[in-house]
């Protein structure tokens, strides 16, 4: 990751900037929204990328420590993906994550299936206006290369 960040620095003009977007170090939520109200929320058991996130944070800290970049500004934001059904959302998330061919832990798969079965049950009882949402929190930071 540090090597990639060094490569990005080489490609940037002297007055350029790097914008990094990645998830925060906390599990995303699976929610049900009904009429603007969150009727259900539970942490997603598929949060298995914590180690990757820590490495990403460490890489960013390292390039700042080495004086290659300075961090100008940053902040966090909510990032929600909505589906009209559990099946629709799961199909979408599976397609979006298809680039990652690492096998999922069996226990995590089972916990995810259990969660989504419960979400499906609540959705069916919630009526047509309900939506299921995958709620992540993202961190975005602007870094400026030091020349």
């Amino acid at each position: 990751m540090v090597h990639a960040l060094e490569g990005i620095r080489r490609l940037l003009r002297p007055d350029g900037s790097l914008i990094d977007i990645h998830p925060v170090l906390e599990a995303p939520l699976v929610e049900i929204h009904r009429g603007g109200v969150v009727a259900f929320a539970e942490s997603s058991p598929s949060y298995d990328y914590e180690e990757d996130l820590r490495h990403a944070e460490e890489a960013l800290a390292r390039i700042v420590e080495r004086g290659l970049f300075v961090t100008d500004r940053g902040g966090e934001f909510d990032f929600l993906t909505y589906g009209s059904s559990v099946a629709e959302l799961r199909d979408f998330m599976a397609e979006a994550g298809a680039y990652d061919d690492r096998p999922e832990d069996d226990a995590a798969v089972a916990r995810k299936a259990d969660l989504y079965a419960r979400v499906d049950e609540v959705m069916r009882a919630s009526g047509d206006r309900a939506e299921v949402a995958f709620h992540e929190r993202g961190r975005m930071a602007r870094l400026t290369p030091v020349r």
């Binding site: 990005i8 080489r10 490609l11 002297p14 790097l18 914008i19 977007i21 490495h55 990032f79 589906g83």
Partner: protein, 101 residues
Amino acid sequence: MSVRVDPEGNEIRALFDLVDLSGRDVLEIGCGDGRLTRRYADSVSHVTAIDPFAEGIKRAEQSLSETSRGRVEFQRIAFEEFAAATEPSTFDTAVLSWSLC
């Protein structure tokens, strides 16, 4: 009903709050299906959006609007290979789009 991704626009609002992309040459790394690219493409001079995942790039190209076509270039390529083939100091802004981890 189709899936709605960030209909609130929180991500693009956060991006525009951090950087003015007007007239800029942008490199987006990990563009996936072009979801974020489409949201800022009309602001920039040019964006090169890369991702090694072929299916994502295919969907990105298919869903690009006519107004953005002249200023957006999607490439199916890994960053290391792209960087090795690219001259230094080419871009004003690089966006690591949920791809550092």
